[in-house]
């Protein structure tokens, strides 16, 4: 809860995006740009899940619902309506918001493990609907055929460099917003609920209202991540709303560190790097990843960034012990 001035964060973010924009002029690696785009999408998603898991203590196993909903809604709007990209994006957020209110209202009153499973069931239900509603969603083939009118204020996002800078900028804005959320009084009430829900209630906090609000907010960020992914893959596919998506995000936040603000971003990078490196070396990706997870989980017993923070003598901002 150190009160970092918001201006400093903004300056850092602007510099980072500028650096990102400059990199392709030094080294024209397409793979790096791909990596940054995927990373932006997944990091936004993992960070949004950490608002629930790390900050509020709500372990959702089905957060991929909103990521997938972002990709599908956005893709459907772009393909089937004449809406421009920003309008379609806003409409996607609106739809996500309404869905999150309904899903959240059902889920948040459940405790711990039941909450986890019902959120997962919600996601799998959405997955089932998408698989079976072939006429709308293309079923297990997904929505192919690309995204028309990929222009943002005259800038073509079909151009990989443009999409790359755009993704990085969206991630930066997303991180700034989430940083802001957790440093407000509202963010403090999240931590109060995580630490001691009963005490928070006896201090006058309306638990239900706060939990539903953070559930909806985190769904919105997840949907933004989903839209970036949709732009990247030029479509929407059932894998993007299937359970392993949620699994990846959980992996990223636990590996990166639930107690550090940027932990999930670091975790996402670890995950994607492992993915790229290991699949290049061996076809037994699962074996390698599994062993690495065991080493982390049983060795460090906490996320990487939390581990480093503690080693440096600092105190992690959160923690879900």
């Amino acid at each position: 809860m150190r009160r970092a001035p918001i201006m400093r964060d903004i300056v850092i973010a602007v510099i980072l995006v500028a650096v990102l924009a400059a990199i392709p002029y030094l080294t024209p690696s397409k793979a790096f740009q791909d990596f940054v785009i995927r990373c932006s999408s997944m990091a936004l998603f993992a960070m949004s899940l950490n608002l629930l898991v790390g900050y509020t203590g709500l372990s959702s196993f089905g957060h991929g619902l909103f990521f997938g909903l972002g990709t599908y809604t956005f893709e459907l709007l772009m393909q089937n309506t004449g809406l421009s990209l920003p309008v379609a994006a806003l409409a996607t957020l609106l739809f996500t918001c309404v869905t999150a209110i309904v899903v959240g209202a059902i889920c948040i009153r459940l405790r711990l493990i039941y909450f986890a499973f019902v959120t997962l069931a919600m996601q799998m239900l959405a997955h089932s609907i998408i698989i079976s509603w072939v006429s709308l969603t293309g079923g297990d083939q997904g929505l192919q055929g690309g995204i028309p009118r990929r222009f943002l204020f005259g800038l073509s996002l079909e151009n990989q460099y443009n999409l790359y800078v755009f993704s990085g900028a969206v991630l930066a804005v997303g991180l700034l917003l989430m940083r802001h959320i957790v440093s407000t009084s509202f963010g403090t009430s999240l931590r109060m609920i995580r630490d001691n829900e009963a005490r928070a209630a006896f201090l006058g906090i309306s638990i239900w209202r706060v939990k539903l609000t953070v559930f909806v907010l985190s769904a919105l960020f997840a949907a933004v991540g989903g839209m970036i992914m949709s732009l990247f893959v030029s479509g929407a596919y059932p894998e993007l709303i299937n359970w392993p998506i949620s699994g990846d995000a959980i992996f990223a936040i636990v590996m990166g560190g639930v107690g550090s603000f940027l932990g999930p971003t670091v975790g996402t990078m670890i995950l994607l790097l492992l993915n790229d490196l290991v699949t290049r070396q061996t076809e037994y990706y699962g074996l390698a990843l599994g062993i690495i997870i065991l080493v982390f989980a049983l060795g460090l017993r906490r996320g990487l960034l939390d581990f480093i923070t503690e080693r440096l003598g600092g105190r992690p901002a959160g923690g879900i012990s």
């Binding site: 499973f117 997955h127 599994g290």
Partner: protein, 300 residues
């Protein structure tokens, strides 16, 4: 969605019998897996996300022993015994290290085991799927009951699962060890204060849970195709069963398994693409109505 097909199926006994039978074998096999899952949760308060892997390994083990010896019985028993041992190793070596830790940490450990085992299966048995095929003794014409097709092997499966499930119920209800296990689910400290080594007891519970999943895998091997990753859908379904039945309740798991099996059996007629969705809807509805499952006690 094909409600007409569902209506016409429900109107003929042959279709009802066929779908009920296929629903029951799904349900009963699921029950064996879920019983272990719910038992482990009931006593240790650990959600074993690797339980589907026990099922998969049990099936592969049964397949290997069956092809080596030609005995299906031996194959199933090997699946059960092998997974009992695996369960103990898993508990002692990994899960006992995260007792009391955050559920996400437990999830991650199990996830790692799932990933590792899936790849080990690929390495040992190859990435392609196997069809074990019906044991020769059951390669006989099916029975016709009320016009419906009932392969004798299905009857065997249902009977075997009922027998194992019943045996488990009796063992938990009547033997001293069973009574101790149930008591430990309620109050492990008091059980320990009565001179019972709870560390040993926890391993035993994992052994029993692993054995049940292994037996289910072995029993299912002739009617399922064996692939690396086959454990996952079973895992999800047994979670649904466990949660609907109330976590920790074996009776609840039995009822929920049968319900889920029947939803699957008849769902394939009426909602061929949406049978999974029906299960999730059932789970959501039940949890909204009763937040701790049908037979669950309120847990914190």
């Amino acid at each position: 969605m094909d409600l007409d097909a569902l209506a016409s199926c429900l109107a003929t006994t042959s279709c009802v019998v066929t779908q009920t039978t296929s629903g029951l074998i799904v349900g009963m096999l699921l029950f064996l897996v879920a019983a272990g899952l719910t038992l482990i949760f009931g006593v240790l308060k650990i959600v074993n996300f690797a339980h589907g892997t026990f099922y998969m390994l049990g099936a592969y083990l049964a397949y290997t022993v069956y092809t080596a010896t030609g005995s299906y019985t031996l194959g199933v028993l090997a699946g059960g015994a092998g997974m009992a041992v695996f369960g103990v190793l898993f508990e002692r070596g990994l899960i006992s290290r995260v007792y009391g830790a955050n559920v996400l940490m437990q999830l991650l450990i199990c996830y790692a085991v799932v990933l590792i085992c899936d790849d080990l299966v690929k390495i040992i048995w190859g990435p392609d799927f196997y069809a074990m095929g019906m044991p020769p003794a059951f390669q006989v014409p099916p029975w016709f009951i009320g016009g419906g097709v009932v392969p004798p092997f299905y009857a065997l499966l249902i009977a075997a699962a009922l027998l194992i499930g019943g045996g488990l119920g009796l063992a938990l209800g009547l033997t001293r060890t069973g009574k101790i296990i149930r008591a430990a689910a309620h109050n492990p400290d008091m059980v320990s204060a009565l001179g019972i080594n709870t560390t040993l007891l926890y391993s035993l519970v994992f052994a029993v849970g692993g054995m049940l999943a292994g037996l289910a895998g072995g029993l299912a091997a002739p009617v399922r195709s064996l692939t690396p990753g086959m454990g996952f859908s079973v895992l999800i379904e047994s979670f649904i069963v466990t949660v609907i039945g109330g976590m920790g309740s074996i009776g609840g798991a039995l009822i929920a398994s049968i319900v889920l099996g029947l939803i699957r059996g008849f769902g394939t007629i009426g909602f061929p693409l949406f049978t999974d969705g029906l299960m999730y809807i059932a789970m959501i509805i039940i949890l909204v109505a009763k937040p701790s499952g049908l037979f669950g006690k309120e847990i914190v």
